[in-house]
């Protein structure tokens, strides 16, 4: 069965200028209950890789540099 990539607008936004994941920080990635935040291999920064968010906010609350913002997913807005 052929598979296609399905495009979604994701709710967690990471400000790459503020994110220090390239310096080894993993706080948002560690605390995500759904494990949807991963390192972007191209930039070394955190990004939302899977559209499986509960908009629960530990990533934003625990981020040491205020780089993470959780928006309400578009379907619920």
């Amino acid at each position: 069965m052929p598979i296609v990539n399905h495009h979604s607008s994701v709710p967690v936004i990471v400000d790459e200028d503020k994110c220090i994941a390239d310096k080894g920080c993993r706080v948002c990635i560690d605390v995500c209950p759904l494990d949807v935040l991963w390192i972007n291999e191209d930039t070394g920064k955190a990004h939302m890789k899977y559209d499986e968010c509960w908009y629960c906010m530990p990533c934003e609350t625990d981020c040491p540099t205020d780089a993470v913002k959780v928006k309400i997913p578009y379907l619920l807005r």
Binding site: D35, C56, T61, L76
Partner: protein, 579 residues
Amino acid sequence: MTTTINDIPVIDTDVLVIGGGTAGPMAAVTVKEQDPSLRVILLEKANVKRSGAISMGMDGLNNAVVPGHATPEQYVKEITIANDGIVHQPALMAYATRSFPMIEKLDSWGVHFQKDETGDYDMKKVHHLGTYVLPMPEGHNVKKILYRRLRRVRVEIENRFQATRLLKDPDGNIAGMIGVNTRTAEPIIIRAKAVIMATGAAGRIGLPNSGYLFGTYENPANCGDGHAMAYHVGADLVNLECFQVNPLLKDYNGPACAYVTGPLGGFTANAYGERFIECDYWSGQMMLEFFKELESGTGPVFLKLDHLAEETIQEIETVLHTNERPTRGRFHEGRQVDYRQRMVEMHISEIGFCSGHSASGVWTDETGATTVPGLYGAGDMASVAHNYMLGAFVYGQICGESAAAFVKDRAVPQLDEAFVAAELARIQAPLQVKDGIPPEQMEYKVRRLVNDYLQPPKVTKKMEIGLERILAVRDDLPMLSAADPHELLRALEVQSIIDCAEMAARASLYRTESRWGLYHYRVDFPEQDNAEWFYHSRLFKDADGNMASGKRPVAEYIVPLGEEKDAYSKMRVKKAANA
């Protein structure tokens, strides 16, 4: 390359706790408090720091039995009545008597509860009869406090491991668990002399109306893995047809928090701003009135706060927008909804299994024991009715004590190698399927079937069709495909969801009466039938490996119900004759 049992080092422990949300950390800490020499592993699918239903804290205790405000006997009576009589009172009583000591323990750990000007706990009345709600406006730090305790007593924590099946020894006692790392797909085998399950609700079996798979009422990590594992290891589950259906903010799908707003003057209203239910405490009977209003000409239903004073609204906003589901404020902002100006639209949640709010789950008695020796259950997955967060803590503690006693003098259990080999193959199968169905599609399909065919009001023929279609999805499992370890996590969760969907259908078909208001409202069996159905319904795997049902007698009451026995069947506000 397929991993076999010989490739994996078996990890040995005295007690294994599965699930690091609320009950799990308390259970793990308790085992170490009982006997610091015992080895305790706490396994968590996410990260213990921020996992479970209270990852962002909790805004209050919904079932605090505080001396001077309520007695354990009053509490046991009220929950028995609220749950239409089908409860295991000894388990409720064990909770109720330990409720206050647990509050004091948490207080001593640094959890802040609201106190009045004299320093007493500031109790609020939300239930129909008694006073059991204790606000915790600074409850956002509960997880941090639990984490510190885990470190202090040296519980070993294994984050990002998903348990997939429990193991038994040749005598039928629990022997441990097999699972998988959610980031690497590496299998893990833990041999344990006792296992405590604290895997949370099955909150991802129905589909939110928005169509957003992860926009569930419950934390979507709580997808029923524990219910499925308990079933497969041969433990009894009970009263699964007593679904969880909760009132919530429409689309946001988080709690409207009548328990927070009620004591401050807020209430559930119809489109005309009129109160239509006597009591906002979540019971099946209340939910039935909620559902009727929602479907009626005076619907839909709203949370009404717009009549309150500015300082009251600010207090409500502070509590609701910093605890439990803090993005709620952001949701309102996006729709220009201000509590001061208009009522907030409410709806009902998708179905789930959750003893925290209703009464279904893996059968556990007053010692936290399941029907499998050495296996214990606490929190939203175990069957103690209306347990909420404090019940999860209390039963975490009870299970910790029971497990510590069970492992004393027990030898290292023997593992069933053939079973382990078969499970390793099952775990890894989706990774081998290159040209198949992605987990997301299979999950959407089975959850949509749950909504279409199992959501109450329940109709026999619809549920039969639903069961048939759910079983057809099960037949598709050989096509389930995972492209990476993260998709494997979802693929394994889908299998728990399918198990839970089948359980929900079979349990609902088995009980041929209506009970628990909306939770088990069968349109073609509309009456409660105590002669035939004053029982817990059992669901279990029979000797042939089939899903079977049966009855478990309700233990003799230790607290009689007296005159108030019908209090919860009079939920609708009475209109004056001349109105």
